[in-house]
Symmetry: C2
Subunit: 255 residues, 2 copies
């Protein structure tokens, strides 16, 4: 695992934010200094970590108004875990970015300045392939892709790979796929096995061993502003995210 | 129910496409002439109705290249149901639209030309508040909002209402909320009751009686390119969409 990771999949509702929040928290619990950058105007990573969206300075100010990123980063209630918050003012940012020089490199400029202050910098992205996501791809070392085992999610894979390849070709040649995380997995759905097998052929060798199961506690945790390993430490979701952190840190899922 | 309906919610994965496909099919089964416009670059409404995304003319050609909408509409395998397809070439359309005059009215110009040829025109939108969704809001008479009973979905409501009010104020004063459809409802999730109650306070009188349950058949149907009432006519999903069509057409859910 490298330092700057973008969590991306333009398909909506596949668990990007849930993966961002809970992997960040799991890495922080292991003593790693972690920053989570929220690039979604919905601000779900921000509120899911208990940070108010009514803060004065957000990622919008970093991208569009040139405010130093260190002035906008906020500590969370959880040790070793900080967040660069987002809120609705980010909604118009793609159009504003479209008119700027080097519009794809704006975020990278800020992220490169703070790389030495963190062990990991994770970025949660919105469900689209617009300029906010492109900025995250350009700033990142690796991509982590949450995948739901359903038909529409599978359909979106080729678009995601096209975007990844064009960013590698034009703006960020060292960008690589860290892995695919099978997310929100519900074994009662007949589709799951067939789609999971299909994903494994597309991404041979990249599908991570740790699977994130569908779990009620996981959907409840954000309403308390807590990662699932704080909200329900013994739940299957909390265990899965710690296993995922171990797998990424050591290459082997902890059993 | 009026003629031109936009199906919108910027939160990802809440059932917009599933509602678009299955409500269109349910209305068509009742003998209504229906057009479904796919405004999502993912093209899920297109493939979910069994239409190839490799077609030559799509909604991109209508919006950006001025090709007449009647040249791009394709019949589906299902009587009374046509689709204006989308594919990945739509992904760059927001940026291209941003540079055009009257960029918010481009779709409306085309939709207004064909209103008399259909009883209903439904529009499926991507999970964002960009220019594609804005175009759909400006072209529409009413908005139908699928809502998942989960914390992040609830959080997004205020953003959706802000967009709706600003479109009404600037571009489409007659736009109204047709209703909120509680979607993908899974009664095992503790959150559901509490969040559903919260939604009913926000949208007093607008939450439709018909509830769309979580159902395995529903997630399987799109992989066969079929609406659920064709794929599994006796499933609870198929029944729910027919009830929804009845409720919208008559004001009462059929029992
Ligand atoms: N493993 C899980 N078990 C149960 N619920 C989950 C799980 N993962 C995510 N959820 C819930 O499913 C919904 C979608 O997840 P989430 O918001 O993380 O997806 P997303 O990809 O970030 O969505 P968007 O595309 O809107 O950004 C949320 O309500 C979330 O709480
Ligand atoms: N009632 C349901 N029961 C079971 N699965 C469902 C139901 N409704 C939708 N799904 C599945 O959940 C996933 C999300 O639904 P869908 O794609 O319709 O949402 P969306 O809001 O259109 O997503 P996006 O924001 O990416 O456009 C899909 O895989 C779909 O097949
Ligand atoms: Mg998210
Ligand atoms: Mg959709």
């Amino acid at each position: 695992i490298q330092k700057v990771i973008v969590i991306a999949n333009q398909k909506g509702g596949v668990g990007k934010t849930t993966l961002s929040i809970n992997l960040s928290a799991a890495l922080a619990l292991q003593g790693k200094r972690v920053l989570l950058i929220d690039l979604d105007p919905q601000g779900n990573s921000t509120s899911g970590l208990g940070v108010s969206k009514k803060v004065e300075k957000t990622v919008y100010h970093v991208l569009i108004q040139g405010v130093p990123i260190t002035d906008c980063i906020i500590p969370t209630a959880y040790p070793n875990l900080s967040v660069l918050p987002a809120n609705m003012n980010l909604a118009g940012a793609s159009i504003e970015l479209a008119g700027m020089n080097f519009r794809e490199y704006i975020l990278k400029k800020s992220v490169d300045q703070i790389r030495d202050s963190y062990d990991f910098i994770l970025m949660d992205t919105p469900p689209s392939v617009g300029l906010l996501s492109v900025n995250a791809f350009v700033a990142a070392d690796q991509i982590l892709i949450p995948m739901q085992c359903e038909f529409f999610a599978l359909e979106g894979l080729s678009q995601l790979v096209t975007v990844y390849e064009s960013i590698r070709g034009f703006a960020n040649p060292k960008l690589e796929i860290l892995g695919v995380v099978l997310s929100m997995v519900d074994y009662r759905m007949n589709l799951t096995e067939a789609v999971a097998a299909e994903i494994k052929t597309h991404f041979a060798g990249k599908v991570l061993a740790t699977i994130i199961p569908k779990s009620v506690r996981m959907a409840e945790a954000p309403s308390f502003g807590q990662p699932v390993m704080i909200y329900a430490p013994d739940s299957k979701g909390a265990v899965a995210f710690q296993e995922l952190a171990n797998e990424l840190l050591t290459g082997y899922p902890a059993v």
